[in-house]
Structures are given as C-alpha cells and as structure tokens.
Amino acid sequence: MSIKKKYFQRRHIVEFLVKTAMRIALVIVAGALGLILWTIITRGLPSLSWSMVTQIPKGGYYMGKEGGILNAIIGSAYLASGGTLLAILLSLPIALYLKAYLGDSKWGDYVRLALDVLWGIPSIVYGAFGFALMIMLGMRASLLAGIIALALVTLPIMTRAMDEVIRRMPVDLEHAALALGSTKFEVAIQVVTRQMLPGIITGILLAFGRGIGDAASVLFTAGYTDRIPTSLMNPTASLPLAVFFQLGSPYPEVRERGYAAALILTIIVLIVSLGSRLLASRLNKYTVK
C-alpha cells in the first residue's frame, strides 16, 4: 500500500514539474517579445523627433546634422504597397485555382509544396536572384526592381494564407452556387472571394507587413538614396536599410537616430499586424459560418 502511494505521489510530482517547466518556457517566449519591445522603446524614444518623420535627410544628416528619414518611410511604403499589389495579382488567381480546380488533389499538393518551398527561400537569395536578373536585363537598382523582388518574397506568404482560409469554406455553399447553375469561375469570383474576404485581407496585410520590414531582398535591388523617388526607375530608400545604415555610423547621435528609426519601423509593423487582426474579426460578421 505504501509503495503504491509513493508511486502515485511520484507521478503527480512529475506532472507538476513538467507543467511548471512548460509554463516557464511559455513565459520565456512571451517575455522575449516584451524584452524586445522594451529595448526598442527605451532606446528609440529619446531620439525620436517630429523632424525624423517629416523631413528628408539634409546635407550631412549621416554625420549628425539636420534632417529626417521621410525618404525611407515613403520609399518603404512605395516598395511594400507595390510589391503587395503585384503579389495580389498573382496570388489571388493561384489561390482561387487551387480551390476551384485542384482542391486536395495531387497537383494541388505539388503547388502547395512549391509555395512552401518558396516561402522558405531566404530573402537574401531573392535579392541575389533579383540582382542577377537586373544584370542580365541591363537594369539599375530601382523602385521597380525592389517591388519585383518584394513581390516574390511576399507571394508565397500571401497565397498560402489565402489558401488556408479558402480551404475552410463550407462545401455546401459552393455546391449551392453550382446547383443554381453558376460556372466554377463565377463561384470563385462571386462566392469564394466574398466569403473569404477576411482571410484574403489578413493575407494581404501579413504580406504587406513582411514587405515593409524586409531588408535583404531590397538591399541589392532597390538601392538607397536620400531623395523620394518620383518614378519607378529611380532608386529608393527603405526603412530597414535606413536603420541598418545609421547603426553602422561612427557618430553616436546617428546611431541613436537609428534606434529611433527602428522604433518607427516597429510601430508601423505592429499597427499593420494588429490592424489585420481587427479588420479580419470585423469582416468575419459577413461570412456564412
């Protein structure tokens, strides 16, 4: 009897220990987020100023003189929205084709595998590929090249996000539409896209957030300049690279402004991320469960 009791006690102790270890692990992971935000905010806030977000770099900005990084903020907005737009043009048809014609078939799995592989390809490789392509075509670093590189980076993210929601659509809805005599294409455009609007928006914002923060793919392709681009053929600055270059400066005040730029980038990305969540839950009201 006492042996049995001892055994019972031991396994409950193990249960308790394991559970505690798991809770600690979760706290560590969540704490990492807090730590990152804390570091970025406390170090970035002191040098954050209004002129940083409203002015382009004046002469000698990178030696600690007047100016701001408006060029990088606008450049990043151009790059990310251009890349996202280009990616939507490709990913929406792919996601709809996967749903309407491939479904869970073998070919559907091949396309999904290809998308997952593309998702895994690091953005520096997309950057290098974009660079190789630019040399072959005789192009220079430009907004357009950056947009294309970013579209390639965000395409798989967006498509897989859309695909995941579209797959969860109730089959009855599709059958009902088909039974009324619509073609598969009409179902895809008029039923699936409306039903899946929240998922599609989430996918788009997810990709936008990734695009605005990605540095490695635009490093070769978009170049860097102090001016705000006026055409697709101009090189353009981007926020992640602005952070990166300012941190590499030997002047402490420029490095401080790099921290502030990182804070600006973090705020933008967090707004996009939280916004997509909010928007998705709002739009969810209009879908058939």
Binding site: I94, I121, F129, P240, F244
Partner: protein, 326 residues
C-alpha cells in the same frame, strides 16, 4: 421600404446577366489564365536556381567544387575563394540557434496544445504573431543593444570561469560579445514563433479519443502525452525543427549585425563568425570590381538555396502528410 427597393435592384442585376454560352467561354478562358499563373510558383523555383547557376558558372568552371566548398582562405583579390569559414560559420550559428530554441519551444507548444486554457491560447497566439511580425532588422537592433552586452558582461565571464578551461567550445577568445552565441540567441527568438505554431498544429492532428482512452485508464496528463501523443507526432516535431533550421540558415540582416563578420573558422561559441548570407549582403557593393567576385557570391547564394530547398521539401512533405490526417 428601402429594403424592397434594394431587392429589386438585385433582381434586375440578375436578369441582365450574360447568356450561358459566353459565361462558359469566360469560365474556360479564366481557367486557362489561372492555370498558367498557378504554374508560376513551380517555375519560379526552377528559374531562380537556373539564374543563380548561370551567374555562378564562371567560378564553378574555374575551380573544383571541393576547392570552393572546403577551401579555407577567402581572398577575392588574389583569386582565392574558399567557402569553408562561411559554411562553418553558418552551421555554427544555426546549430546554436536551434539548440537554444528547441527545448523552450517544444515545452511551450505542448503546453499550448495539451494543457492551456482557451483563454491562455487566445493571449499566446497574438504574442507569437507579433513576434513573427517584427522585422529582422529590429531583431538585429535588439541583439546589438541587449544581447551583445549581455553575452559580453554576463555569459562570457560565467562560461569562461566554469567551463572554458575544460571544454574548448566554451572558451572565450573574443572579448566583445559579438559572435556565434549572440547570433544564436537572436536566431532562437526569431524562429521560435514558427517552430511553436508548427508543433502546435502537429499536436492538434492527434485524435482526442486516444487521449481520452489513455486518461480513462488512470494516467496523468503528462503520462498520456509521453506515451500516447508524443510517439505519434515525433516525425512532425522533427519536421518543425528542420523547418526552423532552414529559416535560421538563411537569416541575414539580424545575424549579420551581431555575429562579428570575420572570415575565420570558429572554434568556440564565443568566436566571431561570418555566415554565408552575411557574406552576400556585406559585399554587394564591391563585387563588380573584382573578377569572379560576383560569381563567387552568387555561387554562395546557390549553395544556400540548394540546401534550404532540400530541407524545405523534406519537412514540408512530412508536415503535409500530418496535416492531411486532420
């Protein structure tokens, strides 16, 4: 009243639809167009590989592959292109990152999948999403501001005192904090959300009946997980870790900022390293001025691409099989 009007507009809209034959033509055209676009992802993988291969060709035809991959000396000016320090640097940083990330990720994801309240999950998911959304360069800034000083002030003296003299990989040779350990810590945090969410999904594929059957026999929850659930999902967990490793292999900016970037074969986790992605990113400016330099760098990108594609295909195939079970 306004509702009736609305309905009427809608009915009129229906009536003005195109006739059936043109709708079928539209369906057919759309299907063909969408089919071509759907082939694009598959083609893109081939195009990227071929383009990098073509651009790397000059160096691949000048030196043998073994010379390139195992050559120890990197002096592009003298025509010496040995990738060994970079390949080993990449492997070290990735290994340290995975080693640090896996235990907490595994525990946290089991907790979320098996123990946690719906409320805890609802809190944890946005946190993980935010962690995944933070841009690499911000992770780099964090590494620079928090991790590098932490390694320098706390970890390095600690390890040096207790382990440095007995185990060489813990000896401190580099007194600045920049190095493999700092890179590994930053990487571990970066890949954590990915690993946790994939392992969580894998756990969700195990049918609840199995858990209930085991619990009904009087086991504790942990005994059920250890003896019933874990054996079923082990391949999925390994796939999740491989996926995390491939993400870590290619991470560029964040690692570049904290790892020191000295082209030397590392021997301790406190050594500096120079991973392949950092090599590519750091030298894009000058690579056109030295012969074969751009071919060497695009060759490095090719090496990275091939390894990552293999990792990705393996882990994705395993995971696809798992997730279809659901």
């Amino acid at each position: 009243m306004s509702e009736i009007e609305l309905t009427q507009v809608k009915v009129e809209g229906r009536l003005s639809r195109p006739s059936t034959p043109s709708r079928i033509t539209a369906d057919r055209t759309a299907r063909r167009a969408f089919f071509v676009i759907t082939l694009f992802p598959i083609l893109l993988i081939l195009i990227i590989t071929v383009a990098l291969f073509v651009r790397a060709m000059p160096i691949l035809s000048t030196y043998s592959l073994t010379d390139l991959l195992f050559g120890e000396i990197w002096r592009p000016n003298n025509g010496q292109f040995g990738f060994r320090p970079f390949i080993l640097g990449t492997l070290w940083v990735t290994a340290v990152g995975i080693f640090l990330a896996v235990p907490p990720c595994l525990l946290a994801s089991i907790y979320l999948a098996e123990y946690a309240h719906a409320r805890t999950r609802a809190i944890a998911k946005p946190i993980l999403d935010l962690l995944a959304a933070i841009p690499p360069v911000v992770y780099g800034v964090w590494g620079l501001l928090a991790i590098v000083p932490f390694v320098d002030d706390v970890l390095a003296p600690l390890f040096d005192r207790w382990l440095g003299s007995t185990i060489p990989i813990f000896s401190v040779t580099q007194p600045t904090g920049f190095g493999i350990l700092a890179g590994g810590i930053v990487l571990a945090v970066m890949i954590a959300p990915l690993i946790i969410s994939v392992i969580f999904e894998v756990f969700a594929t195990v049918p609840n009946d199995l858990r209930h059957a085991s619990l009904a026999l009087g086991t504790t929850q942990w005994q059920t997980i250890r003896t019933v659930v874990l054996p079923q999902v082990t391949p999925g967990i390994i796939a999740a870790i491989v996926l995390g490793a491939s993400r870590a292999l290619g991470e560029t900016i964040a690692v570049l900022m904290v790892v020191g970037n000295v082209p030397k074969v590392p021997t301790s986790i406190f050594d500096t390293a120079y991973p392949l992605p950092a090599l590519i990113a750091n030298n894009y400016g000058e690579m056109m001025s030295i012969p074969l330099y751009d071919a060497a760098l695009l060759g490095a990108a090719l090496v990275l691409l091939v390894v990552i594609i293999i990792f990705n295909i393996l882990s994705t195939l395993v995971l696809q099989r798992f997730l279809r079970r659901k």
